[in-house]
């Protein structure tokens, strides 16, 4: 039995290693900024019933269980009798994939001989899907780009040229998008071959027994991690700025012997714009928040994700249905982690941090000639920027660091090399962390302006300008964000606007909330804050 035990462990490690190789290759070849800088991709292996056995550890929690839920949809929609060796499937359906059209999920069945033994799936954020382009302004999914239902990219090894043709005629950056889809398919293929090698090396007919071993182990560990949480019902409510009006996020979290259930009844109704969230994406950030608090060492698979369930009535903003627009579902989605952590904080006062800046302050602009008679080529730009995270029960918050997103920022020099932009300032925002025994992480101040005869057409989507991150257990709130032009003229935190050629846009990113009474702060820590100029 014990040799079997070690063998199973080794094979489990091997599966994860194969998936990491796969994810790494995707990161290095991807064209999408969010894939390479944010790890906005995932790769997983599934059993023949579509249950996820293992997933590569990548940078973003957004795919934590969205992709895991996708493979059963592939099996149902393709139809078990139409799954052949050499097939490759894909979709970008927000409700069957990962929540918006920009994520393409590719799924490849694995056969031993004529027997289906499992699937590989991978997801990546692509540069463009046509429609209006990436932004919240579409009022129906149809405006947000091409929607590919679950279908065959290849059948028995034959590429579906009609589909390639349709895509080529419906997206802006054809080569990059098709390049990324080919990359996803190729990475699944690598995974498939490696898995077959592994089966041979270990003399296995299939992966069913290994899957059972992994599920059984994970399930036991997940339940053990949940045991210390007092059973009961926990509630939290959090107001954020939203798009056209403030959004109340409400959760009722029920902890039972079987797991945790988040119900979002009471949350604000749907927006007219693409900030709505398919519930599978809200579930991802709920699950991430609970796992990071309770069981950070657990791997993501069918068994670790199964105990975390969600529900919401129709018509709330965390339960978008087709044809609701969902393009930038990450903005509110990212707040779901803080919302749910806030609920469970009552049960886990020594673990859960204060609220943080939450949503990223992405700088997303279309640079166009300031003088329309100039024949300057259009340039699209994207920068990720993060405010401060909430203070922890025993540690200060993190300054200018993404949470719960796994995003990283880009080099200012590299950004200036590829677009008509000058980043005049990118510095810590002093005094922006909420005071507390432990201080909230500081935000940052960014000043950017166009150059070389361009102006920016700017689609603003900045949150926590009206509703700062709240402190916890006596900690003070973090500073709210601010948005304006350098001559002092106002600039709305939401919606389409222009940054003229000679102006700079100033962004003051929110800080994180403090934790505990500021009077209890270690004097040495306070003195250091002053010496370093974090606090003045």
């Amino acid at each position: 039995m014990s040799t079997e035990e070690v063998r199973n462990q080794i094979m489990w490690n091997r599966l994860i290693s194969v998936l990491e190789e796969q994810a790494l290759t995707l990161v290095r070849t991807a064209f999408s900024t969010s894939v390479r800088e944010a790890g906005d991709l995932s790769a997983g292996v599934f059993d023949r019933r579509g249950r996820m056995i293992a997933q590569a550890v990548t940078g973003t929690p957004g795919h934590v269980n969205t992709m895991a839920a996708a493979v059963p949809h592939f099996i149902d929609d393709i139809g078990p009798e139409r799954i052949y060796p050499g097939d490759v499937y894909l979709t970008n359906d927000p409700w069957k994939g990962t929540g918006h059209l920009h994520d393409i999920t590719v799924c490849t069945p694995v056969f031993v001989g004529e027997t289906l033994i499992g699937f590989f799936a991978s997801t990546a954020h692509v540069v463009d899907v046509g429609g209006r382009g990436y932004g919240p302004d579409g009022t129906e999914i149809y405006e947000e780009g091409i929607r590919i239902p679950i279908m065959k990219w290849a059948e028995r090894g034959e590429l579906n040229h009609d589909l390639v043709n349709i895509l080529r005629n419906n997206v802006r950056e054809q080569d990059q998008v098709l390049g990324d889809i080919h990359g996803l398919a190729a990475s699944n293929e690598t995974g498939r071959r490696r898995l077959l090698d592994m089966l041979q090396e270990f003399s296995l007919p299939d992966i069913d027994d290994l899957a059972e071993f992994i599920f059984e182990r994970t399930s036991a560990a997940t339940m053990a991690a949940l045991t210390p949480v007092k059973k009961g019902v926990y509630r939290n409510q959090m107001t954020v700025d939203g798009y056209e009006e403030p959004v109340d996020l409400v959760v009722e979290l029920t902890v039972t012997d079987e797991g945790m259930h988040a119900d979002f009844t009471g949350t604000s109704p749907l927006s007219n714009f693409g900030i709505n969230v398919p519930i599978v994406y809200a579930q991802a950030y709920f699950t991430y928040g609970m796992l990071v608090a309770l069981a950070p060492e657990l791997p993501n698979n069918y068994a670790s994700l199964r105990p975390f369930t969600v529900s919401a009535p129709d018509g709330v903003i965390l339960n978008a249905q087709e044809p609701d627009p969902v393009s930038v579902r990450h903005v509110l989605g990212h707040f779901v982690t803080d919302l749910c952590l806030g609920a469970i904080a009552q049960a886990l006062p020594d673990i859960v941090p204060a609220e943080g800046a939450g949503a990223l302050w992405n700088f997303q602009a279309s640079a166009r000639a300031a003088d329309p008679t100039d024949l300057l080529p259009p340039v699209e730009m994207l920068m990720f920027n993060s405010g401060g995270t909430g203070a922890r029960p025993t540690l200060d918050g993190l300054t200018a660091t993404a949470f719960p997103s796994g995003v990283m920022t880009m080099s200012a020099e590299a950004t200036e090399q590829v677009g008509p932009i000058i980043i005049w300032r990118k510095e810590i925002r002093e005094n922006s962390g909420g005071a507390g025994e432990f201080r909230g992480g500081l935000g940052q101040i960014i000043e950017v302006g166009p150059t070389d005869g361009y102006q920016f057409e700017f689609s603003a989507m900045f949150d926590r300008v009206e509703n700062p991150a709240r402190g916890r257990f006596g900690g003070e709130d973090g500073a709210a964000g601010k948005v304006y032009l350098d001559d002092g003229s106002p600039f709305s935190a939401k919606g389409k606007q222009i940054v003229p050629a000679d102006r700079r846009l100033v962004l003051e990113l929110p800080g994180g909330g403090g934790f505990g009474d500021p009077a209890d702060r270690d004097p040495a820590a306070h003195a250091n804050d002053e010496a370093q100029g974090y606090v003045s």
């Binding site: 462990q9 790494l24 900024t33 080569d175 560990a221 300054t399 993404a402």
Partner: protein, 698 residues
């Protein structure tokens, strides 16, 4: 050839190797002296010279590598240093990438910036990406900052301005003003230390250089002086992270280039062996007490990179350290050494490392108070190590302590006896190293099929035959002197310097003249440094890193020429496409291609060592003694042969299951492995029936 000495100062031991006039090597180990770092190495050099009757005056060359710079960065024992940077960018080294290196840890602690915020100053000045001035350098503001630097008594200053890799004028002006006022202060400018695009990496690199410079300069000059006092009037050279030699002066000016020089020596050692045996694709596997390091060597040259990470705070976790952008021999390092500690995680999985029991108290088997179950303990339990013949450390291993520790840490929690738990520990650490090797190969766009392995360091030969099987490789070499491989590698290193600078261009708008000019400048710069050490014939290699527009990763493309004609753009594009296909399997048509950084490496011509023919098996030897050892092939403990490496003559073939023992390590053979002793003392190991090309089948 004259007598040469190589000295590798590590964290615990200093290895000194002497190459005698007949080309043979001898070595000694002394304790590293942290108080006065030159004392240990001087002691070692004098000792080995006297042991072999060599007068200090007759030593022709001393080559030195040290972890002193690395340790100063890790332990934060550098100079009081100020950073002066562009207004608006005071916090670049603190806000880092804005990411979390560990997604699933709420209590993550980000590394403290090397230079604190209160020691960072800004000056109004600004260049754009083309190196043109947007905001002129503000002299009066600069003068005020210099006043503050003088008042506060900084010992070193790092200067890093935006886009200085394109135009170093402002950085130089500030340095001139500073030195006019404070002539004795130590100054580093980013345009000289690391003229590569990406401010976080460049600023960190210049900060690290400034931070360790006073310490390193003082150490190096003192060492050179002391060697002269002791009669060694020969040149002293330093090995750098890129695997080449530089003068003491260059090392003192750019001490950040000395970081990771020890591991570089190991890779050169392996590359040299690869050349001797004509193996053009090699996986170098070095395993010591705390880590395993894996590097790829092609065409007898280790793979290099332009950036790496030092001083990881969460051990070995990518992103938890500070990036250093200088040319470096690329390797992957994981927490898998003899001292790595085994545990069971909440999933009931055996985990190895990253924590290590170190040498004090060491593995449980050392019986010095350590209770952690380590890889060494498992090797003892499995019979691979013997209680009485372990290493040269005057340590008798205790199988009882090892068994207890293994039972407590792994056996108990998993309901296994200690023997099965030891099997599990060995299997997991082997699997970890195998996976690291695979991922490293993928990261470099390589397939390991057809690679040979070279295993060295005290731990590698114990595990190498299992890795050989797991990776599906056909042959491996276990060289003699494996325990002091780095120091021997130093003696094989060329004089070499790599100059790198960013010049962003689009291939469809390629300015061949500008690129040629840049390559010329880089060649001159690199040659100047190399000429400080040698008059030998030089070889120049040029490289450009390229990508498709829209991508974030560059891949290196070797340039055949520095002269670009009208067809240069097309040729560059074709070279890139070819390299891309090698990396990723397929190229993409019709996409714009960009260049990011250009590099020139100038090195003294390395005369490849004389090619050694493989010695075929002539005599089958049987072991004089046997003991029960766990066979990694059949997964059973069987009575296995034990033979002294010293007793093997060239042509002797020894078949597993068994072990070949020597003072520094033990080589483990599974039941289908065969070792054949080569003429130079190297062991060639293959699987019986899959004998390597050139080797004779038994």
């Amino acid at each position: 050839m004259g007598v040469r000495i190589g000295a590798d100062v590590g964290g615990t031991f200093t290895d000194v190797v002497i190459e005698l006039a007949d080309g043979s090597f001898e070595s000694t180990k002394v304790l590293t002296t942290h108080g006065g770092p030159e004392e240990g190495i001087l002691l070692g050099i004098e000792r080995i010279a006297s042991e072999h009757g060599v007068a200090m005056a007759s030593v022709e060359q001393i080559i030195h590598g040290t972890t002193l710079a690395t340790n100063a960065l890790i332990e934060r024992r550098g100079a009081l240093t100020a950073l002066v940077t562009t207004q608006g960018f005071r916090d670049v080294i603190e806000t880092r990438t804005e990411g979390r290196f560990e997604q699933y840890d709420l209590n993550i602690v980000l590394p403290t910036p090397l230079i604190e915020r209160k020691d960072r100053f800004t000056i109004p000045e600004r260049l754009n990406a083309r190196g043109e001035v947007l905001v002129p350098f503000d002299e009066s503001a600069a003068a005020e900052v210099i006043d503050t630097i003088a008042e506060r008594g900084y010992e070193a200053v790092a200067i890093g301005f935006l886009h200085s890799y394109r135009n170093a004028d402002h950085e130089r002006r500030f340095r001139t003003m500073l030195l006019d006022r404070l002539p004795d202060i130590s100054v580093s400018i980013s345009a000289e230390v690391s003229p590569q695009m990406r401010e976080y990496e460049r600023f960190n690199t210049v900060c690290a250089n400034a931070y360790v410079q006073p310490l390193m300069a003082s150490y190096l000059f003192k060492l050179a002086e002391e060697l002269k006092v002791r009669g060694a009037d020969c040149p002293l050279y330093l090995i750098h992270s890129g695997g080449g030699l530089v003068s003491v002066e260059t090392a003192a000016a750019f001490p950040v280039r000395l970081v990771e020089s020890g591991p570089a020596g190991g890779a050169i050692f392996a590359a040299d062996l690869a050349a001797r045996y004509g193996r053009d694709r090699v996986l170098s596997y070095d395993m010591g007490g705390t880590t395993a390091k894996i590097a790829l060597i092609e065409d007898y040259t280790p793979q290099t990179a332009k950036t790496f990470e030092v001083a990881r705070t969460t051990r070995f976790k990518k992103g938890s350290g500070m990036p250093i952008s200088i040319p470096v021999i690329e390797m992957i390092e994981i927490g898998a050494g003899g001292g790595s500690i085994a545990s069971v995680d909440p999933l009931g999985q055996i985990r190895i490392g990253p924590h290590s029991a170190g040498s004090e108290p060491g593995p449980a088997a050392y019986d010095r108070g350590g209770t952690a179950a380590t890889v060494t303990d498992a090797n003892l339990e499995l019979g691979r190590l013997h209680p009485d013949t372990f290493g040269a450390k005057d340590i008798t291993l205790s199988p009882e302590r090892a068994a207890e520790a293994i039972a407590a840490a792994v056996g108990g929690p998993l309901g296994m006896d200690h023997h099965d738990a030891a099997v599990g520990i060995a299997e997991v650490v082997d699997e970890n190293m195998t996976n690291a090797a695979r991922v490293h190969a993928v990261e470099n766009g390589k397939d390991l099929a057809g690679f040979s392995m070279i295993a060295f360091g005290g731990g590698a030969p114990l595990h190498a035959s299992r890795l050989l099987d797991k990776l599906g490789l056909d042959e491996m070499f276990v060289p003699a002197g494996a325990g002091v491989g780095s120091a021997i590698g130093f003696l094989r290193a060329p004089f070499a310097y790599e100059a790198v600078r960013s010049l962003y261009t689009r291939i469809d708008d390629f300015d061949g003249a500008a690129a040629s000019r840049l390559l010329d400048e880089l060649t001159q710069e690199a040659e100047m440094f190399v000429r400080q050490g040698t008059d030998a014939e030089l070889v120049v290699e040029r490289q450009v890193s390229m990508r498709y527009k829209g991508q974030g990763w560059e891949i290196p493309v070797r340039l055949a020429t520095a002269e670009f004609d009208d067809f240069a753009a097309e040729a560059l594009g074709a070279s890139f496409t070819k390299a891309y296909e090698e990396f990723f399997g397929r190229a993409i048509d019709d996409l714009a291609i960009e260049t990011v950084s250009w590099a020139v490496r100038v090195a003294s011509v390395q005369h490849h060592p004389e090619r050694l023919a493989l010695t075929g098996a002539t005599t089958v030897v049987t072991a004089p003694t046997t003991r029960p050892i766990f066979d990694p092939v059949t997964r059973e403990t069987v009575e296995s042969g034990v033979i002294e490496r010293e007793s093997l003559e060239p042509g002797d073939a020894f078949s597993g299951p068994g072990v070949i023992v020597e003072s520094q390590t033990t080589t483990v053979l599974g039941s289908h492995h065969v070792a054949v002793m080569q003429a130079d003392g190297t062991l060639l190991i293959t699987r019986g029936g899959t004998s390597a090309s050139g080797g004779e089948r038994l």
